[in-house]
Each structure stands twice: as structure tokens, then as C-alpha cells.
């Protein structure tokens, strides 16, 4: 049961970036198809909305003497947010993102998403607009300047889906990408499998845009203890990165790290972060158990040092737990927060849950989950692209995830999606008609559908749990590199052992009872490939020069994002 589709540009992943890529590729004359594991109306990290958008307005910000380089420098080094990142971002890409944000807002607005209002509030940036013209609700958000918009983004994915369909983009919902098709070193399409019918799909395309999302969820044990209690969609399992790795693409890897301070980002029990950060502006206060305000608001320019000091002091004094507390806010502020929650992904549903549980921001404080100092966090892998969103593989473009530009989330994906669509369409115009390698397609179908045909085997959950165990070991060994030199060999042996365990797991047979489970099995196989790559990269000594591990290095003086990372090609033995 195989379906073959011929197109110019294939976009894998129909989230924010994938839809933007598809729309712009179509606007540049390409025939476009989207392969989407979920459903484009509600899929991806912005599936149930987005309420904040980092942007640079040529009029408003120019008048305030705030330039794009200022903005990029701020988010990379200077702003409260930048200080935590220490230059770990690709500033050239960020500049492209910043430049593209206003056009993105204009486009989104023309597609029916409201960005401007009759009424703005005292906590929004006050700026002059011509008589009768609506204004943006601009807020400061971790940055040194007022450069984030609050907006009605709950249905952003529905609007983007409409725009795709309007342009004749063919959307294949519930089809999960499984492999890239390569002929003579060029990408000529991809395969996928339908999660409901099991139908195998073969896409023949002149160019492919990888837009499968910003995370490798379920690679590490979830902080909440449950894979599906998470901020990012637990269905984003690095499928695109694994497909690209197997095809020989270069990747960027941020290794596991160790936190230096105690902190918090989630509600206790409910692993969701935007409700305790950006989206509670301007009324969310962080208070300790005595009700003392530690942080007036996380998203405003409160010095990070002060925040750390306050948190550490309260912990030392035993004034825990901490709470998100809006009870001293004005009614107008609370209404603003409720409006923001109503449009931010996973936050609208919190309001609904609050109704059912009889909770109210006016009366109730929400406990936060404390994270201890020295907590080990997992690593991250992304495709490495040039400023045209091209990977090192001819015909393969990418917009999400890509090397560390994604820290400003939605704007990065909207702008890079848009750009990758244009560049892929241009490439497709010049590219020759692709010819598939029938044997490759056949063997890929066999590989992918094996768990469905297996008589016996492990369920995906079992294998996924063991991946988590191995990756927990890896986290410990990577942190081991922080130890004195004589301990380095211990870590090395440990890491090699992790690889051996992952390879063994890769060979284990899995069993899927239905096409839905088949896709989960494939996700697990992808996680194994990503895990192997991440651990192999950790064995490269050159990168171990910082507290945060990444394929780059800190040069003398100012840390900077390294443009030529160490590249370990899959499935080599780890040669740099």
C-alpha cells in the first residue's frame, strides 16, 4: 500500500515554520506539499496559540535609537536573557530573523491575525501613532528594549493552514516523515507513513524543507516524570534531525549541562513554562512562602543577579515553596494576563482547568516547582544551516530546529520558515527532474514498517524508557568532564558504554499493534540515532571548553558562536 506524490518543494512538518515555508514557496511559483505528523490546524509548539512575538519595527524602534545589531547583541549578550546565553547564538542568523520580523507581522496581520488595538495599556510601550490608527501592544520581555508584541495568536495555525490551502499547497496530515531519499548526493524527496492508515508515502521533490520542530522530546527523562506532561509537544521527537543525520547532514549539538543556580520555570505538577514567564506580564509576581515579593515580574528587566540572590536567600531562610502570585494586581492587569493566557499555547487550557477547579488569579497563588543547583539538563541537536537556510546536502533546507537561533522561538521559526520556502523554491526552479532509486524506497519501506510486521518485539514505551536510562548516564558522564583531568578517562569509558548500549537497543526488535504505534516506534528509532550522535560528539575533546557544552568554543575574551563546528558524520566512528 504505497502512495506516490510528485512536487517541487516538500515541507516536512507543518508547524509555524513549515506553514510559512510552504506559503512562501508557493508564492515563488513552486508546487508544494506538506507532510505533517499531526494536523496543521493545531500542530506544533504554537498549535494552541502564541501570544508574544519579538520584533523590530523600522519606525518605532528606529525612532528610539534601537537598531537591529543592538537587538541582536542584546539578546545574545547584554539583555537579561542574553546574559544567560553568553553568545551561544548564531548572530548572523539572528540578524536575518530580526530584519524579517516586521514583514512577518505585516503578513500575519493581512491573513487575519490581530496585532493592533484601539486600546493600549500603561504597561505597554507608549508611542505616537497617527490619529485613528491602531497601535501595537509592545512589552519588554527579558530584553533591554521594548521589543515584544502581545497579540491575538490563538488561531495562528488555523490562519496559516487557510493560506496554505488558498495557494494550492497539498497538506498530508497524519503522515510522519521517516527518511530522506538521496540520489547522487542530492535530496530528491522523502518517505513517510500515515499514522492512521499505515499507508506508506513516497514524495518525489526537487527540494525538501525540514521543519519538524525545535526539540527531541522523550530523549531524556521528563522533568515531570511523564513524557506527556511537558512544555514542548511530546510528539516532537527529532524525526527531521534523525532523517537528516542518516542522510549525512551536518548538525549543531548543545551538550548536556549543569545548572549553576537554583531556579524555577514550571508550575508544580504542571510542566508548563510560558504561564510562569512571558505570559503573566504585567501582573505575575514571584513570592516566597512568607508572601514576600522576590521578583516583581520575570519578563521585565529585573537584574538576573538580583533574581538569583532573592531566590537563593529565600531558600537559605527556608521560605519555600515559591508561588506565582497575581493577587495584589489590579483588575485591569489581571484581565490583561487572562487575555495573554487566552492566546498563548497551553495557557488557554490552564484558564479552562482553573474554571473547573474553582481557581482564580484574583484569589489563588500557584506553587512553582523548584529546581536545585547543579541539576543536569539534557542536550539538544539541530540542523546546521547557512544564511540561505541550506544544509550541506544539496536540496535540503531547514528552518526548525536550526543552530542556536531558536531562543527567540516563534519569530525565528516564522522568519526562517519564510526564508527557507523562498530559497527552496528558487533551488527547485533550477533543479532537474528527480529520479528515485527504487531499491532505496523499497528498503526504506521495509525498515519503517518492520515493527508492524513483526511477530514479536518490544513495545515502543519499553525501548523509549531504556533510551532515557542510557541518556541519564550520558548526562552524568558529560558533567564528569568538569572533573579534574584524571577523571576524564572514566567519563570516556562511560560515554563509550552509552554508545554500545544505544547500538544494542537499535538492534532490538520492536512490535507495533497498529499504524499509530508504528509511528511511535519510528520516533523511538530516531531518538536512538540522535542519542548516538550526541554521545559521539561528547567524545570529541575539542568542544569541552565551556560550562555549557556545545560544538563551538569560547575564544579569548568575548564568547562567540563558532561558525565552523566540529562535524561528526553519521554513522562514522566519531572521526572529527
Amino acid at each position: 500500500m504505497t502512495k506516490t506524490i510528485k512536487t517541487d518543494v516538500l515541507v516536512i512538518g507543518g508547524g509555524l515554520s513549515g506553514c510559512m515555508a510552504a506559503i512562501n514557496a508557493a508564492d515563488h511559483g513552486a508546487k508544494v506539499a506538506i507532510m505533517e505528523k499531526s494536523h496543521t490546524e493545531r500542530s506544533g509548539a504554537a498549535g494552541t496559540g502564541n501570544d508574544h512575538f519579538w520584533f523590530w519595527d523600522p519606525e518605532i524602534h528606529h525612532r528610539r535609537g534601537w537598531t537591529i545589531p543592538d537587538m541582536v547583541r542584546d539578546i545574545s549578550f547584554d539583555g537579561e536573557y542574553g546574559k544567560t546565553k553568553g553568545g551561544l547564538m548564531d548572530q548572523e542568523l539572528l540578524e536575518i530573523v530580526a530584519e524579517g520580523t516586521k514583514e512577518a507581522v505585516d503578513n500575519l496581520e493581512s491573513w487575519g491575525i490581530q496585532f493592533r488595538y484601539d486600546e493600549i495599556y500603561p504597561w505597554n510601550l507608549q508611542y505616537e501613532a497617527p490619529e485613528g490608527e491602531k497601535r501595537f501592544r509592545i512589552v519588554p520581555q527579558f530584553q533591554s528594549e521594548w521589543d515584544t508584541l502581545n497579540y491575538d495568536g490563538r488561531d495562528i495555525k488555523r490562519r496559516l493552514t487557510e493560506q496554505c490551502l488558498k495557494r494550492g499547497v497539498e497538506i498530508y496530515n497524519r503522515v510522519s516523515g521517516t527518511g530522506l531519499l538521496i540520489v547522487d548526493g542530492k535530496v530528491v524527496g522523502a518517505t513517510g507513513v500515515n499514522m492512521r492508515t499505515g499507508e506508506f508515502h513516497v514524495f518525489k521533490a526537487k527540494a525538501v524543507v525540514m521543519a519538524t520542530g525545535m526539540d527531541q522530546m522523550r530523549l531524556f527523562r521528563a522533568q515531570s516524570g511523564d513524557w506527556f506532561n511537558s512544555q514542548s509537544p511530546p510528539y516532537i521527537t527529532g524525526d527531521g534531525e534523525a532523517m537528516a543525520l542518516r542522510a549525512g547532514a551536518e548538525v549543531f549539538i548543545l551538550q548536556a549541562g549543569k545548572s549553576r543556580n537554583a531556579g524555577f520555570q514550571y508550575f508544580r505538577n504542571l510542566s508548563r513554562s510560558s504561564g510562569t514567564a512571558t505570559t503573566c506580564y504585567p501582573a505575575g509576581r514571584f513570592v516566597n512562602s512568607e508572601g514576600e515579593v522576590m521578583i516583581r515580574h520575570p519578563a521585565v528587566r529585573e537584574p538576573l543577579r538580583k533574581r538569583r540572590e532573592e531566590v537563593e536567600r529565600s531558600i537559605a531562610e527556608g521560605k519555600t515553596p515559591f508561588y506565582l502570585d497575581l493577587t495584589d494586581a489590579s483588575e485591569e492587569e489581571i484581565r490583561y494576563v487572562e487575555w495573554s493566557y487566552g492566546h498563548e499555547g497551553l495557557c488557554w487550557v490552564i484558564l479552562e482547568i482553573m474554571k473547573d477547579l474553582g481557581l482564580d488569579f484574583r484569589k489563588d497563588a500557584f506553587e512553582l516547582e523548584l529546581e536545585p543547583t547543579g541539576k543536569l539538563s539534557g542536550g539538544f541537536l539541530a540542523l546546521y544551516i547557512d544564511t540561505d537556510c541550506h544544509t550541506n546536502l544539496p536540496g535540503l533546507y531547514a528552518c526548525s530546529p536550526v543552530q542556536f537561533a531558536g531562543e527567540v522561538a516563534a519569530p525565528t521559526y516564522v522568519v526562517l520558515g519564510w526564508r527557507s520556502g523562498e530559497k527552496a523554491a528558487e533551488y527547485a526552479q533550477e533543479a532537474a527532474e528527480p529520479t528515485l532509486d527504487a531499491k532505496q524506497v523499497e528498503s526504506e519501506e521495509r525498515r519503517v514498517t518492520a515493527p508492524l510486521n513483526a511477530e514479536d518485539g518490544h513495545p515502543w514505551q519499553e525501548v523509549n524508557k531504556e533510551i532515557n536510562n542510557i541518556m541519564e548516564e550520558y548526562k552524568g558522564y558529560v558533567a564528569g568532564w568538569n572533573l579534574p583531568r584524571e577523571d576524564a578517562e572514566v567519563s570516556r569509558a562511560g560515554l563509550e558504554n552509552c554508545i554500545a548500549q544505544l547500538e544494542k537497543l537499535k538492534a532490538a526488535e520492536m512490535k507495533a499493534e497498529d499504524p499509530h504505534e508504528l509511528v511511535r516506534c519510528n520516533e523511538v528509532m530516531n531518538l536512538i540515532d540522535i542519542g548516538i550522535m550526541m554521545v559521539k560528539a561528547a567524545l570529541e575533546p575539542e568542544q569541552h571548553e565551556r560550562g555549557i557544552w556545545f560544538l563551538g568554543r569560547q575564544v579569548e575574551g568575548e564568547p562567540e558562536f563558532r561558525k565552523t563546528p566540529i562535524v561528526i558524520k553519521y554513522p562514522s566512528k566519531g572521526d572529527a
Binding site: 494552541t48 505538577n269 506553587e367
Partner: protein, 70 residues
């Protein structure tokens, strides 16, 4: 077990169409939660329900812990 469908459900199956986690299937007269352990509790089913027939029954261990201040 989230989500829960009440008697207002018209069996239009919009929720089944859009569920981000593919956890819902068309059931007899109303949707059924085919893969309850994989629900992300994102609320998309509730958001898009034209009949106001869905509520999310958050498991106890996922419920926010709160303190009444006022």
C-alpha cells in the same frame, strides 16, 4: 482520563481530526480516547469543539498546587 465528552457532543469528530497527539478516534456516537497515556492535555479538542462538549479531566498528579491568598 482526559478528555471527557458530555451529552452535548454531536459526533462531528472535529476533535478527532485535529488532535495533535493522534490520541482520539471516532467512537460509537462520540469520540473515544484511544491512547489516553499519550494525551498532552493541550486542550485543542476543547478549543475547537463547536458544541462545548469537551472538558479536560486533568489527572490528580498534574493539577496545579495552589494556596488561597485572598
Amino acid at each position: 482520563m482526559p478528555p471527557v465528552f458530555n451529552e452535548k457532543c454531536t459526533a462531528c469528530f472535529k476533535c478527532v481530526e485535529i488532535c495533535p497527539g493522534d490520541v482520539l478516534r471516532e467512537g460509537d456516537g462520540k469520540p473515544k480516547v484511544a491512547y489516553p497515556d499519550e494525551c498532552w492535555h493541550c486542550g485543542a479538542c476543547m478549543m475547537d469543539c463547536p458544541a462545548d462538549a469537551v472538558r479536560l479531566d486533568l489527572p490528580l498528579w498534574m493539577r496545579p498546587v495552589t494556596k488561597r491568598v485572598k
